[in-house]
Symmetry: C2
Subunit: 429 residues, 2 copies
């Protein structure tokens, strides 16, 4: 059964997922009078993933990076938000099945349901390491980090050398940014919160199987990030595969054990176990759904897969794009344009990725930005650029102001900040 | 065992609880060189309870009303925060027992551990009604309210008359403020979020066994609150005791059933089941701990009980004060002064409550403030006074700015706001 039958004269589009891809697709269709869009997500908010590491390291609050979906589309009369979990696709009957028994009929479907943390089958990783891909992940990680610091303060004798050790696995942008922010969190906690921790003995270890950090960037950018991380006290362990993860640390493939109070998992993404993995058409590397040049499924041209869930080709017949926000935004928009082409009886077009560049921040006044066939900007200028660009892409004027204020505050080193342990496992009296 | 042995020459004070009472006591002792203070709380933050109803109704974010304890006392070298749950008092051995096996030795103890929601043994109330006394309570209530609205939007047919019904039990300040804010939340959700709810049929019902709202206030103030609530669409059911609470509503003592999608419990406080109830010396009304004129236990003059946990006398031999923030702040400060008197070999003094007045807000531009032997201020002026006073009492410049900005935003009716469902039971993919 369907909660509401579609009005016959308007085309029905269902968008699954309110991440960058789903929001971009919906924005392209919002305000039109020839199409109704239903955007479905199990959360009632969009999460600005590039700043998730700031929530995890207590620099920003959850509400700074999350924005209600209804607020984004409040003025678009043809957009409906449905707060529900998608449990299946009936591609033949053209229906999306929701938890609770409802389903949504569609003429076009845009699947933008994202991916999940990739543990590569490493023993203990899923159980003991903490991924960083959702707002819930960020809150759990923050609670763990702050609890580790409180425990170290109360019981220095139970912590080797009296200082916590944090291990970050994966030296891509998420891992580099998290490691940089962890060093700053430790400084703030020792200086302002007077935690009884030997700051000189705390360790932040960044582990990667590859030979350089930010492997997707130019080697010049990698070298800058490498030097900056080491300058700031991050221990870099490159060419160091992880064999297994235990509650108290990491076993390296070399046989060395690395004691850790928390292991952050930033090693990659997979579609294994997600709903999008059930879509037909074959799986590309990372388990991603294979799509045609127009981003639709070959057997079901009315179904598009975009963002992290899809192996989005760089151009016609090209290699898959990386799983980054820009690809999700551009592929979501492209899918929406194909829907409109169908409605207009116009031919579809192939997707081409427009590379606007990539950037990563390493902490206070240090970031690296790399533009295609352009310069590599680093240091304070890179950091200001990183900051400005992320503010531009944040949804909502209010969100931008709040994040800017939070950053200024932190930059000016005022001691307050959202270092609250508000946990899932918390029992309130 | 104790994590750190006390230095013999400095007196050791343990403060249990980082609410208004515990923070006030610790502030009085911070920065001194003759006393060490350890403040213990199971949460690493202080919660500004008077604004909790705003968090519950999505007007403020959790971080707006919570402030890290370490930040408050960051500059006081003689204050230590301990993030731990207290599981017992050894009054003879003068030790506070913590979960995990540690204990803290004290020369003086200040118990400021608060109270718990009072369900009066009403069948089903503890299981199905949602209290509002902790930050966790506020988050759970907000998640419930927003989820009810999303469900009503998706399935109008499952909700009687197609509109949600919220019942608030208890017409004291918390109940009145919550009912007023619920009406505003419904307006915002229907107008800005375009929820498919028949706004004219939504109901907010405020139930109380007594004959008037704000029974602790002057009858003139009660009458104003009564009229304002009714004007704004709150249904008042006075002289209406509740017999039982079920998952789908409330059974009144009259036999009438009131269907409800959520029942907010603001009916009162008790010490039953809390740790402070194990202290000797007899229990006053509400289960509160009986204390002497100096707020100490008769059998243990080195132990003080303050705030909601104690039957704080208005003056020597007087009636107990109400369980409000001002009493907690003043009684916490008094206990600290008695500790200092002991250290100085000076005589103790009796506590006298200085009534600064009471106030409650009923929503946008409507509040009532009542001063002892002074005027009753109401309407916009009362609201501005309420707003200003709450800003003054909020801890931290940053917190004040953030709350003020959030309020201005809401007042100007800008559509964004923290209407995020970030739940305890949430499963992140």
């Amino acid at each position: 059964m369907t909660a509401r039958g579609p009005a016959p004269e308007r085309s029905q589009v269902v968008v699954v997922g309110a991440g960058f891809g789903g929001i971009a697709a919906t924005r392209h269709l919002a305000g039109r009078d020839d199409v109704d869009v239903t955007i479905v997500d199990q959360h009632n908010f969009h999460t600005f993933l590039p700043l998730l590491y700031q929530v995890a390291t207590a620099g920003l609050e959850p509400a700074d990076v999350a924005y209600p979906v209804r607020t984004i589309f409040g003025r678009a009369a043809n957009v409906t938000f449905r707060h529900a979990q998608v449990v299946g696709f009936d591609l033949v009957g053209r229906r999306v099945r929701l938890a609770g028994g409802d389903d949504l009929a569609y003429d076009h479907l845009v699947v933008a349901s994202g991916a999940a943390a990739q543990f590569f089958g490493i023993d203990g990783a899923a159980a003991h390491a903490l991924p960083l891909y959702t707002l819930g992940d960020a809150r759990r990680l923050r609670n763990r980090l702050l609890t580790v610091l409180e425990t170290a303060d109360a019981h220095p004798e139970t912590v080797d050398d009296g200082a916590p050790v944090f291990v970050v696995v994966g030296a891509g942008p998420t891992g580099v940014e998290t490691a940089g922010a962890l060093v700053e969190l430790l400084e703030v906690c020792v200086r302002h919160d007077r935690l009884r921790i030997d700051a000189a003995r705390t360790r932040v270890v960044l582990v990667d199987a590859g030979s350089r950090v930010l492997a997707g960037f130019d080697p010049v950018a990698s070298r800058y990030a490498d030097e900056t991380l080491r300058d700031r006290g991050v221990e870099l362990r490159l060419e160091t595969p992880v064999a297994s993860v235990a509650p108290d640390g990491v076993l390296l493939a070399s046989g060395e054990r690395l004691r850790a109070d928390a292991v952050v998992w930033a090693a990659g993404l997979t579609l294994d176990g997600t709903l999008a993995a059930t879509l037909p058409g074959g799986q590309a590397p990372g388990g991603r759904v294979t799509v045609g040049d127009d981003l639709s499924l070959t057997a079901h041209p009315e179904v598009f897969v975009v963002g992290d869930a899809a192996a989005v080709p760089r151009g016609p017949g090209g290699e898959p794009c990386p799983q980054v926000a820009q690809v999700a935004i551009q592929s979501g928009g492209h899918a929406a344009r194909q829907v409109l082409a169908d409605l207009a009886g116009a031919p579809r077009t192939a997707f081409t990725y427009f590379d606007k560049g990539i950037m990563a921040t390493i902490g206070r006044r240090a970031a690296v930005a790399q533009f295609p066939r352009g310069p590599i900007v680093r240091g304070t200028l890179g950091w200001l650029g990183w900051l400005g660009l992320h503010l531009v892409y944040l949804i909502g004027f209010r969100g931008r102001i709040k994040v800017l204020v939070n950053w200024c505050w932190r930059y000016l080193d005022w001691p307050s900040g959202p270092r609250l342990i508000v946990g899932d496992a918390e029992s309130d009296p």
